[in-house]
């Protein structure tokens, strides 16, 4: 099976029903995409399929044939996507495990809605769990990346 991952053609010999997540992690060695629940309930495995955010843990690899998969490793060549920069400047991650999925969901949102409202951010990001509780900083990082004024959590805390 031929896959296009982060702009590179890859050939994988796997069960076509294997979720994209395991093809990425186990077969292609792209471990930036995380396994959190296996049931599309937590969002840690989010990647883009032709620009749409999908849960790779439940999406069979056959559905990616002829389409472009983008993972956190391919979101930008050097970590310079506005969201990646905002994630660092807002010190968003705590443990960091869910953050690749958070960023990929946010990137799909900003590609469609460049200046999302707070409600649109909440609605789009509600499928992504964070147990450390970084939600406020996720919101402010998305606002920063979108060039909205935003309420920086960093500035707001004393």
């Amino acid at each position: 099976m031929k896959l296009n991952v982060n702009g590179v053609e890859r050939v994988v010999e796997v069960d076509p029903e294997m979720p994209i997540l395991w093809a990425l992690r186990d077969i292609l060695g792209l471990t930036g995409t995380k396994f959190g629940c296996g049931q599309a309930l937590c969002g840690a495995c989010t990647v883009h399929l032709d620009g749409e955010g999908i849960r790779s843990c439940v999406t069979p690899v056959r559905r990616a044939e002829g389409k472009q998969i983008t993972t956190i490793e391919g979101l930008s060549p050097d970590g310079s996507h506005p969201l990646q920069k905002a994630w660092v400047s807002q010190c968003v991650p705590q443990c960091g495990f869910c953050q690749a999925g958070q960023i990929m969901t946010a990137a799909a949102l900003l590609a469609k809605v460049p200046k999302p409202s707070a409600e649109q951010i909440d609605a789009s990001m509600s499928g992504n769990l964070c147990r450390c509780g970084t939600y406020l900083r996720i919101r402010s990082a998305i606002e920063e990346a979108a060039g909205l004024k935003g309420t920086s959590v960093l500035g707001g805390s004393k």
Partner: protein, 744 residues
Amino acid sequence: MIRNLSRRSVLRGFGLAGAGLALGCFGKHKDAPALPGNGLHPNVFVQVGTDGLVTLVCHRSEMGQGVRSSLPALLADELGADLSKVKVVQGDGDKVYGDQNTDGSSSVRKRYQDLRQAGATARAMLVSVAAKRWKVPESACAARMGQVTCAGKSFGFGELADEASKLAIPDSKKVALRAESEFQYIGKELPLLDGPDLVVGRAVFGADIKLPGLLIAVIARPPVVGGSAISFNAQKAMAVPGVRKIVQLEAPAKPFKFKPLGGIAVVADNTWAALRGRAALEIVWNSGDNGSYDSAEYKAQLLQAVKKPGKSWRNVGDSDAALLNAAKVVEAIYGTPHYAHATMEPPCATARFSDGRCEVWAATQNPQSARDDVAEALKIPPDKVDVHVTLLGGGFGRKSKGDFVTEAALVSKAVGAPVRLQWTREDDLQNDYYLSNSVQKLAAGLDSSGKVTSWLHRTAFPPITSLFVGDLAKAPDIGGLQQGVLDVPLDIPNVRAEGCEAKAYTRIGWLRSVANVYHAFAVQSFIDEIAHARKVDPRDNLLEIIGPARKVSLKELGVEKLPNYGASLDEHPIDTARLRHVIDRVCALSRWSDRVKDGRTLGLAAHRSFLAYVAVVVSVVKSPDGRIRVDEAWSVADAGQVVNLERVRTQFEGAVVFGLSVGMYGAITMKAGAVEQSNFHDHRLLRIAEAPRKIHVEIVESHGAPCGVGEPGVPPVTPALANALFALTGQRVRDLPIVNSLPV
């Protein structure tokens, strides 16, 4: 400690900071595991290379609390290194570092002094060389940003390192530490060390280890702790393409400790094949001793237990008599369920057993105990086990217990190949070490003027010690009682606290802030109930019950002893001035005087745990759709001297979200000994839309002895929420989770 330096290097082949291969250079310190490069290496934590590169070892596990920036900051500040240029290497599991069990909010508070001394020792040696070269007194030299300077002259650390490495290492306890006014990093906001790696997917977590010939294993574990497989269909599982081997693992004997739960492992070429193989096993289980455990019935038993006197642990005056003579008695019973850790990264470890040795890579909070447990399970000496620590995708106490690490080692040995042992979310929620469920009865007697004259607190919860001594543990012990029962300052003349019978029927473990979760919920809710019974401002009532500013003695508490989180009461007294101060601050920030205004209400709670003082106010509103939401929260903490102020703030922000999740949603229930929840559809955690729009954190400026940070933000959150909900709805929630009673 005498060690054989020919032992295989601890940093071989893998280091989070890219340590690469550590080759045969040993520093001057006899115990120090080798770090790459030559130079000054006076202790196990610091190396100054002849090229000027400073390498610092972080010996405790990073799980989001920021230890990989805070511990290196202690070393770098005393050394005078440029923190932006140091290399941080993750220490392996090795007793040479001292305790590495990253729990109890203890990394900074227990190592604040000796890590500074380790940095200062290296500085003293570098300064000594520079002073000799310049023929000036050492006191005329300063070490800053990787240089030693004196009157306009300077040497880079690298120019001094070789000569310094030939000096006798001074006694670290006698080396002068910097004055607080000289701190360059300690107490400041430091950049996020692993941030750039995390946002591009390069950071290495437990499941991200790549080895040649690596196989993937998943295990079907018995649904009931202590159970085992009666039969299973190995053939059918082996028929799944990619499945290589089926391995049966022994059921553990009580006490369960950190032993694996047994079950059937399916080993395959990839995770998908392993999961499909596991699904094909058709296992018939036997439930063992705990097959009748029903958490709802158990709660009824605990309810009976707290209706009778238990063992008295705290006694001042005569609480029973004072209650009988009270003009008014306020009484309430609180119940809390089991909770799971639900770290976003399910447990995972990779092991490679060969030639009588085992090398392990694991998302572990406790690499030394993992090393000992693996050695015991494989029947090899601990020095034939290497445990490398990856980043942890959340810990919260779950990953202190190395059952999953031992599983990986056992399966690797059984198949003769390196194995990644992956837990699924279902595995995680159904085979956790659960926080104790609890029932508590509180009673307070008021005199005719409304003053509280007596206090009774009965608590029943299965103790953590059951994990280590099995059925011998039948009732709460001091480990859990010190957390929010025995240590609560009460300016009340008659006080009694009792622990009532509660046996464990599942694996009980510690979860972020542990017994403080349920004790602070009950005590701080109850104090709010007293305020409403007295018809006084809940803040004034809370301050009155805490009493005037003082250091509370054991005698005043009415206890013989108090573990006090391993700290002396001289250094860390129970200081009500600090508790009162955080309450005052949080009330000022949240405008407590407007606590019921424009359809929103505030609730307050305050609690000392892990030696830190925290007060929280939560604001709730009714949404147009009838649901209640938390719209804002304030948390004020006095944790003594903090190291990385930025990470400390984020811990308290995160603790608000964690505490709201605990209060509102995430209960674990058990029937016929098995957990009823399986994944995030039926085990609900707070999502972004349910998180407050604003969380304000204030950290009290202090140079006092450092206190815990990771855990103490959690306990006041749930009662503050319950108190706010009462103010909003008039309904008092005494049973968690709140979602069972109110539309949150």
